[in-house]
Symmetry: C2
Subunit: 140 residues, 2 copies
Amino acid sequence: MTALSTTRRSTRQRDVISRVLEVAEGPLSVTDILARTQAELPGVGLATVYRTVKLLCDQETVHPVTLDGETLYEASGRGHHHHFSCTACGRVFTLHACPVSIPAGSVYPGGFVVEAHEVTLYGRCPDCAGTVPQEPGHRL
Amino acid sequence: MTALSTTRRSTRQRDVISRVLEVAEGPLSVTDILARTQAELPGVGLATVYRTVKLLCDQETVHPVTLDGETLYEASGRGHHHHFSCTACGRVFTLHACPVSIPAGSVYPGGFVVEAHEVTLYGRCPDCAGTVPQEPGHRL
DNA sequence: CTCATTGCAAAACGTTTGCACAAAA
DNA sequence: TTTTGTGCAAACGTTTTGCAATGAG
């Protein structure tokens, strides 16, 4: 693959996979991406999804989010945000409110220089809020 | 296996693996646990580490931490804490200072009921603080 | 034509499990 | 003895890769 071609080839599946990630309400698993891509392009294979996602990650168009042992992917460039994982239905949402204020370069007790942070909130999403609360599980 | 035996058997490797996790400065990968266990008990196999870690997880003596796509394990019962991942040396540390205050039951904009939270800080650990800052990587 | 991209199948990787043996009770 | 725990190797699920065929330029 050349680094850049002057004219962009029309790569159907890459475009579809990109769009699937763009319009998602939160990060998706590879399986989710495959299913949503196949809804539009029935013949697509799993390897293509893995390859395309890796390519998009290298381009920094997309980035991985690891959550509860599963790797999900989301489109980049959505600004600073965090994730909410519903302990009832398992869906992951994007939250734009940030509960921490740690300027880059802050020094934490012990001499840890903080450059970035990641926050995941666990609880019940709006759809599940009326449900019986679940154990957050002992991962936390 | 019975749920409980009245007299506890002396299970050498389990004790060593537990202690390895107890004295660790932060969560460890299975490979780390294996290496540290073998330093004391040379013949130990990988399957034993997996089995023992799973057992300790079921007992809630230990719990998994997923970070950057890798699953690490740490001893439970260390109180509320978070993790610091060094972008220079890759080590993960435990931090007892908590940068967020979200009481259980708080409702986030959009109707998300928060029951727990997880924070990971990225940056340079004390040992690497003098080093040239690294890109935090575009996972963040 | 050339060459990037694809689907398929095989390989590689991390984790789990079956089994025969060893050690403890 | 019975029972639990072990190492080894095979099995398993997920992700990656080799390769021949397809499709775009």
